[in-house]
Symmetry: C2
Subunit: 347 residues, 2 copies
């Protein structure tokens, strides 16, 4: 039976949910997945850090309050975040990176990933920043070190998109995709179809915890743009930078626009899309537009996300599911570890 030693970098919602899954399911995973996980380190800029090569108790970690320096409450803990030590010296095989997304330069997450890969550790991350901005160099580094760099959760949380395309669509002739990649904006559009104004619908999303106090990353398309870059570079072999993708959001859409579209069977959606041109180049965009009722994404309502892959041999193949959520995103990390296990196991 395999046991992977894992260090959690960032201990907000996602890695705390992973710890919760470990506390609840480790025994089952030994049966079901052929491995179990042992948490040997945790670090978080706000909560501090802890290292124990013999294993930190997952349930104890989950129960820690979200208060400054809380990890100092552990015998093996400190109020200081010793990021580099946790990544390099905890004896971890795998680093689970789930700090905040920095859309400017991907830091400090990109550095955390780099430290881990340089030290010969697998990295699993749900962080769009390092993937959208530095995937190429991080993948090259992982390859050189003979380890894996996996990031299913960077797009649509645990709903399989990257791995689905990679594992099930080779040979299908993937030429592009369209996606509803932000649950908050799709929720807002859905509520506007029910008669709410834009501001009211955003307030509703904030009330439910879907939208941040400053909702601009969601409603102006910036979040979607990062995901479009990730998908286009990964699935279409593009080398897009964030600034290459024209981006507009949903804040200028009026109730009239929405109701006019509905009257003719159409639904406004914020679509992140990319397609390969005849000459091999890839064009990408983020833009709201009304979809005809028979479009594969027209029926995706509320906070659900979806990607419709455009393929030569199958036409449209669409996957939909949750686009956010603590447990849903923690599952993405687990699915990355399942993939690492499969690679090692068959090697």
């Amino acid at each position: 039976m395999t046991e992977y030693k894992i260090a959690l970098v960032g201990f907000g919602g996602v890695n705390r949910a992973l710890a919760q899954l470990i506390a609840e399911r480790n025994a089952r995973w030994q049966q079901e997945l052929g491995f179990s996980l042992k948490i040997v380190g945790v670090t978080d800029l706000f909560l501090g850090s802890a290292i124990d090569r013999d294993g930190l108790d997952a349930a104890t970690l989950v129960a820690l309050p979200a208060s400054k320096g809380a990890l100092a409450q552990l015998a093996q803990g400190s109020a200081e975040a010793f990021n580099e030590a946790v990544i390099k010296q905890s004896g971890a095989d795998i680093i689970a990176e789930a700090t905040f997304t920095n859309p400017k330069d991907g830091e400090p997450a990109a550095t955390f990933c780099r430290w881990a890969l340089e030290a010969g550790k697998h990295v699993v991350t749900t962080n769009k920043g390092p993937v959208a901005l530095h995937a190429q160099s991080l993948k090259a580094l992982a390859k050189a070190k003979g380890v894996s760099f996996e990031y299913e959760g960077a797009v649509m949380s645990g709903t399989p998109v990257l791995r689905m395309a990679r594992q099930t669509l080779p040979g299908a002739g993937l030429v592009g995709f369209e996606g509803i990649l932000n649950g908050t904006s799709n929720y807002v559009l859905t509520r506007m179809e029910e008669g709410l104004g834009f501001a009211e619908a955003v307030a509703k999303a904030q009330e439910l915890g879907y939208a941040e106090a400053d909702p601009s990353a969601d409603v102006e398309g910036y979040d979607v743009r990062l995901k479009v870059v990730i998908l286009a570079n990964e699935l279409l072999g593009a080398c897009l930078q964030v600034s290459d993708v024209a981006c507009s959001g949903i804040s200028a859409i009026t109730c009239d626009d929405i109701q006019q579209a509905l009257a003719s069977g159409q639904r406004w959606k914020l679509i992140g899309a990319a397609s390969r041109n005849q000459d091999g180049s890839v064009q990408a965009s983020v833009q709201a537009r009304p979809l005809p009722g028979n479009h594969p994404l027209a029926g995706i309502s509320g906070a659900t996300n979806a990607v419709a892959f455009d393929t030569k041999l199958l036409g449209a193949v669409t996957v939909s599911g949750p686009g956010a959520g603590r447990i849903e995103t923690a599952f993405a990390l687990l699915s990355d570890i399942v993939a690492i296990h499969a690679t090692k196991h068959s090697a």
Copy 2:
């Protein structure tokens, strides 16, 4: 560069489409997929058979008329279908089985698969019969012989369902599924929503080639039932036989039923479903019912198929795409070969 020698058993729409893909794309596959295919044998009860260990020309095969004994036109051909010789003695590494579906005992396809596996050849098939009725024994035989038995195309043609669940959902806690698994019946229901009567809608489906002269396998749910057995046994570890699955179709649904549902935002769909009970047993059914508008399958219109996986960690994850078509189903065979190549390659 790897070259797999393949023999085509049954040369109707699907294997002819595979030959067409080989004729058009073999060179590209060497680059893209790391292998190419060489057709070393073809056999078909109506068209006859041909064997050439040096390779039959794919384009020539595609151009053959669909007339009795047509394979005799080839220098290496005969008007007789030497099935056993083609399967066992053509030197094939892989047998692509795509004869007709026999829902009673899966024959003669099951025997073709057995011959191939016993001779140590991989089998890829799109045939629901052998998979729904004999998957357990055929999988055991494949395992004993150290070869693969793959059948992505038995459900939803080339749209990834079996492989998607196997490759991307381990650990997600799959507890059941609901599916729209027959394009003809879904097309009929969609047309009935537009005002057509059942008989008119069936006639329309026949006109378009979606429905057979005798449409009962499609509209009475028998086709869906075979697929439910395949999915439940494969994904939920059930041991269902066809007779274990209660089955009803759409022929008793009236225009009134459809319009009443629409008026309250619901849509009638023929749903094949299975779920695991607390005690580990699995219950499955095929039944038409009205779905609320926010159900993940409510928006699946026309001949499109879809499966919504019910998982503990992600809730519903849904994949939709084509459920039939020559090229679409031939892609399923290709995707099976891609999977075989991945297994061999990493072994």
